[in-house]
């Protein structure tokens, strides 16, 4: 399994942030973890880092239901931005939604590498990391 440089978590839920961060730290999955509670500041961060390949995330874990800017809007904006981003970043949706239409919707986005349903546990996180290209 690959150990990544930069893990990016976009989730307004502080407990989910905490859970992912704790597993990543305990299992030494990522060297750096960037946490964003709102999607628009994550977007700003990606814009500012677009040329800085080593600093760009190697993996984004994205929540769907967030205030102001939700995961879908983030994906829409990211799609516009991605030609200028100097890295192919796999995005994994992690949501509490069990609605089938959300899963279908996720398939329409090329950048989405996977769709996972909360609760977040060790198995879920390990699955995501096993899916990463070497």
């Amino acid at each position: 399994m690959k150990i990544i440089e930069n893990l990016c978590i976009i989730d307004d839920d502080r407990i989910c942030q905490f859970i992912i961060k704790t597993y990543a730290k305990a299992k030494a999955l990522a060297k750096h973890t960037h946490i964003f509670a709102d999607a628009s500041s994550a977007l700003e961060y990606l814009k500012s880092m677009s040329d800085n390949t080593p600093q760009l995330p190697d993996l984004i874990m994205l929540d769907i239901n967030m205030p102001i800017m939700d995961g879908w809007s983030f994906l829409d904006e990211y799609q516009k931005l991605s030609p200028w981003i100097n890295k192919k970043i796999p995005i994994f949706l992690i949501t509490s939604s069990i609605q089938e239409e959300d899963k279908m919707k996720a398939k329409q986005y090329n950048d989405v590498a996977g769709f996972y349903i909360k609760p977040i546990n060790e198995e879920l996180i390990m699955n995501i990391f096993h899916q990463l290209p070497n």
Binding site: D12, D13, I15, Y23, N65, I68, I98, K118
Partner: protein
């Protein structure tokens, strides 16, 4: 001048060859003088009106034409007399001898002599009562069905929204609780170091879950407009009520309030309108800018059959460019602060929609926000 009756007798049969038509039971045929008196008519015409032929000859047209058709009828005959038209066809009702009404289709032509002078009118009438009444009934049923369909659509959307709420807003905190438990059970964190973090997070989750359940409960309590008590409510009075209720609650009530109630009152649920204005106003107070004195403007007016309220402030605003649908959604809030963003506007939207209205927002960060409410949106759509 010749007597109209004699002109009629001389010309009708010979010139118009109407005999076959006159004898058919399918259509009413009558002749009317230029002044509007019945000169002669066939059996079918008399039957439609429920009189005998003898009773009708010599009567004036207003004797069996309902008053509400007077203007229309006069107008059409005047145009015939002025020779603007040579015939016309229209649908109207007649009053029968027993005072009941019958729908008829009428076609009128003027009969002219060799000098192009109008001698009399030929009036053909067809009984369309069954057809017309069926159509009117269908029309009423259609309208009723449309109202029912729009109500069902609305309810279906409500259900979808609640499915969504359960999926996101209720599942999320439960998912987090399970996530925390599993993390705790995995043993990868040091028990002694983390117990404080765990218990605090558990406490927050539990309270937020209770908040969410309460909010959903309040939303479910909002009744549809057909079930809620409506009355004439004045914007000025409601605003006064709201301001009085905010005294003591809001920390800083020093702000400029500009009102322009061109539309002074609407028929609405009083408690819903109070709740709507209260939520909007307390949001303005809460999200005021630190750089300038808060200024709130409330405008009401009536345009294109729509009752509209514009509510705007010069507060911090919000960046709505990327996403405007979320502002009225219910958000998971992982702090116990009941004023947390989302709940107030969520309930405001619920109130507005339950009354058949629509609310939307325009905003620019650091410039303030403007809400537009169309109270009677669904009555017009």
């Amino acid at each position: 001048m010749k007597d109209p009756k004699s002109i009629f007798i001389n010309s009708v049969w010979k010139e118009n060859k109407l005999e076959a038509l006159y004898n058919t039971p399918l259509i009413g045929v009558a002749f009317s003088s230029k002044q509007g008196y019945v000169l002669e008519l066939n059996q079918q015409y008399a039957d439609m009106l429920g009189y005998t032929r003898r009773e009708l000859v010599g009567t004036f047209w207003t004797d069996f034409s309902p008053p509400e058709y007077k203007e229309l009828t006069l107008n059409l005959y005047h145009r015939l007399l002025k020779k603007e038209i040579s015939c016309f066809t229209y649908e109207k009702e007649y009053i029968r001898k027993d005072k009941s009404r019958i729908w008829v289709e009428i076609s009128v032509q003027s009969k002219k002599n060799e000098f192009d002078n109008i001698e009399y009118f030929i009036v053909l009438a067809r009984d369309i009562d069954d057809r017309k009444k069926t159509l009117l009934k269908l029309d009423a049923e259609m309208k009723q069905n449309e109202a029912l369909i729009s109500k069902l659509k609305f309810q279906n959307e409500q259900l979808k929204e609640f499915a969504n709420l359960i999926s996101h807003n209720l599942r999320a905190p439960v998912g987090s609780m399970i996530g925390l438990l599993e993390l705790y059970d995995s043993g990868i964190v040091d028990y002694k170091q983390s117990i404080g973090v765990f218990s605090e997070q558990y406490r927050n989750l539990t309270y937020s879950l209770l908040d969410t359940i309460n909010t959903i409960g309040s939303a479910l309590d909002i009744k549809d407009r057909s079930e809620v008590k409506k009355e004439k409510v004045s914007f000025k009075e409601i605003l006064n009520t709201v301001i009085i209720s905010l005294l003591g609650k809001a920390k800083d009530l020093d702000f400029d309030l500009i009102t322009d109630f061109e539309l002074e009152e609407i028929t609405y649920s009083k408690s819903y309108l109070i709740s709507i204005i209260q939520n909007l106003l307390s949001n303005s107070l809460k999200y005021r800018s630190t750089e300038r004195k808060l200024r709130v403007e409330i405008k009401t007016y009536y345009t294109n059959e729509q009752e509209i309220m514009e509510f705007s402030d010069n507060g911090t605003g919000i960046n709505l460019e990327q996403n405007s649908r979320n502002i009225f959604g219910l958000h998971k809030t992982f702090h116990t602060n009941k004023d947390s963003k989302g709940v107030g506007l969520f309930l405001t939207r619920k109130h507005v929609e339950a009354m058949g209205g629509k609310i939307f927002a325009e905003s620019k960060q650091n410039y303030g926000i403007k809400f537009t409410l169309i109270f009677n949106y669904h009555e017009n759509h």
